[in-house]
Amino acid sequence: MSSFTPTTPRPAPANTVGFVGWARDNLFATKFDTALTVLAVTIILYVMKAVFGWAIIDASFSGTERTACLKEVQGACWPFIEAKFGQFIYGRYPDAERWRVDLVFAAGLIGLVPMLMPSVGHKRANMIFLLGFYPVFAFIMLTGGVLGLAAVDTTDWGGLLVTLVVAVTGIVASLPLGILLALGRRSDLPIVRALCIGFIEIFRGVPLITVLFMASVMLPLFLPDGVNFDKLVRCLIGVALFSSAYMAEVVRGGLQAMPKGQYEAAAALGLSYWKTTRLIILPQALKLVIPGIVNTFIGLFKDTTLVLIVGLFDLLGIVQLHFTDASWATPETHITGYVFAGAVFWLFCFAMSRYSIFMENHLSTDRNA
């Protein structure tokens, strides 16, 4: 008996596999689809051509003053960004001392990157470095005045440095404060609850711009002559309090979502309030509200631009400030500046957003996910 020998399977028709197959299925399946595809591609090409033409083909790339950006058809004025780049990053921080800012940025990265990677161990030591040692280190390095470092006034800080100082302080302070406020608001103790509700509602009820304005304009009038709080410190406190009120409500959302059974199970095991909160409730509640927390962080990061109204120059503020330099004034200068500032903000916010998605997936215990 001859055995059955199957013929080798023939390859699928060429027009159903690979790119062609994918395109037939997804882009040209019906006449309507084809029309939509053609329309979309046309729009994309049109926009790309305009963007590409502005940012590259018609753009200027070298020069030391405004005449470099006064061509007949002028695109982006990149020399402006190049000439002002140091200003945009460090503000008026003295040239000779800028290495200190670099060092603080570098130390922050060294502490933050392993902290963000779940696969790297030593989280406790890392935490102590980041929350205990690093703030002190950054404070000493940036303000100086000790250890032979020249003192640098906060009025000389600016650009990305101020944006990051305000945003990072706000982010780091708002999470723990927000958690405490959220727990307080759900507490059974009437005074604690009343205080927390009052705080949250007051700070959520006024715009950040008002908080900053009060801190900057009203506060000095109440202080005795000669007593002057640092403007940056006033802003940092304002931003931290403001964002913690928002954070509290995000966290409360997570607490609200915890089924009653979790509390009862914890109580049945004989856990105290703090142990229940720390071991059972918060880990689950915070995981639930990661998108909300990151949303607040991103909002806060962008809100830092409001410090401009009290005379501090964050990244956007200093970019705008340099529009007033007459030696760079051209029709394209401010467009280029805004595009640059927008790109930097987008980079930071996009990174935060991607990391939050990664964390959600990593922490997900849902087996269907």
């Binding site: 040239d95 304005f213 304009v217 005795p224 005379g311 705008q320 400030l321 004034a329 200068t333």
Partner: protein, 346 residues
């Protein structure tokens, strides 16, 4: 100036409520402003958050401009060192509080001297270092050389500001036809003017020159010489310290007097030997003017040597050879038909 006025209504209402408290705080002030400044070792000067030619940063982040140079001159007069000054950028909203609370010793922040501000806000204006006012910019090929020829023109300007009102008043008073196209922001108004939507763009004179640089072809546009509103910009100090106000006023007058007398930062060494009694008094070789103010006898000499006379300051920051290219106009010396005039130093 328009933004300032709007902002300032807010500040006024805020300040009015606080005036009694401000007064009590000022009364507690220990010693005179001059003592405080001398003790601190530097002058704290409030400037704008960036206005071309008045106070704006260069590529290195150093403040430059007419207002900045004025503060440097005051520092030179007090300390003999123009570098002993620190600048605080102030928004329009916070500038008057900053001077009242003692956060800054002086504001040189392109602030219009008006009676209300001088009398009701606890500040004293002591000099005018730039005579500004609303003007018009038109295309050079329009052939217009005076605002009187703008009959029937379409004007671009910013919305809801006194600029709009001033223009309306001016055209009505002169029986001329006009049409106003108002925009939310200055940048939009300039863009509209640039694209040919309007025949003329109107705002404060100094700002016209700055905005002109943002046009595609700055050379193709001219700023008409006439001014239709009064915006005298000058330094202000906290009310109630007359000696300090005198110092600020006379530093300005010294720079103007120096230009009248032909004393510049370049020839000041030679001028030191001049036998002209006016020059001798200005440079502190004669008289007790420095002592009367409580500052060194060579106060004016240091200010002129390190910063320059009024003409030098003007030309360096906004003058005809800078990108702004502003002509002296009303800011010329009185002897040249302008308004800059210094009372005699004697």
């Amino acid at each position: 100036m328009q933004i300032k006025r709007k902002a300032f209504i807010g500040v006024v209402s805020l300040v009015l409520g606080l005036t009694p408290m401000v007064a009590s705080v000022s009364a507690q002030a220990a010693g005179s402003t001059l003592d405080v400044v001398t003790q601190r070792g530097h002058l704290q000067c409030g400037v704008s958050q960036g206005l071309p030619g008045f106070s704006n940063p260069d590529d290195k982040g150093n403040w430059t401009g007419i207002d900045v140079d004025f503060c440097k001159a005051v520092a030179a007069a007090i300390f003999g060192d123009a570098k002993k000054v620190k600048f605080t950028p102030l928004s329009a909203k916070e500038r008057f509080t900053a001077i009242q609370s003692g956060e800054v010793d002086i504001i040189a922040r392109n602030t219009t001297w008006s009676m209300h501000r001088d009398t009701a806000l606890g500040v004293d204006f002591r000099a005018v270092n730039y005579y500004d006012g609303q003007g018009f910019m038109v295309r050079a090929d329009l052939g217009v050389t005076s605002t009187a020829e703008l009959d029937g023109a379409t004007l671009c300007t910013n919305q809801g500001t006194t600029t709009e009102l001033n223009a309306a008043d001016y055209f009505r008073a002169n029986n001329m036809q006009y049409e106003i196209v108002a925009f939310e922001k200055a940048d939009e108004a300039v863009a509209a003017y640039n694209s040919g939507r309007c025949d003329a763009y109107t705002t404060d004179h100094s700002a016209l020159y700055a905005q002109r640089l943002k046009l595609t072809d700055p050379q193709g546009h001219i700023v008409l010489p006439e001014i239709i509103s009064k915006e005298p910009l000058g330094p202000a100090v906290r009310q109630g310290d007359n000696n300090w106000g005198d110092i600020v006023a006379w530093v300005h007058y010294a720079t103007v007097a120096a230009e009248e007398l032909g004393v510049t930062s370049k020839n000041i060494a030679a001028m030191g030997n001049s036998s002209n009694p006016s020059v001798k008094r200005l440079l502190g070789k004669d008289g007790t003017f420095g002592r009367n103010l409580g500052i060194p006898a060579d106060w004016a000499m240091q200010a002129i040597k390190q910063v320059g006379n009024y003409g030098e300051i003007f030309e360096r920051n906004v003058g005809i050879n800078t990108p702004l290219g502003i002509e002296r106009g009303y800011n010329a010396l009185w002897t040249d038909g302008g308004l800059q005039y210094a009372p005699p130093i004697r």
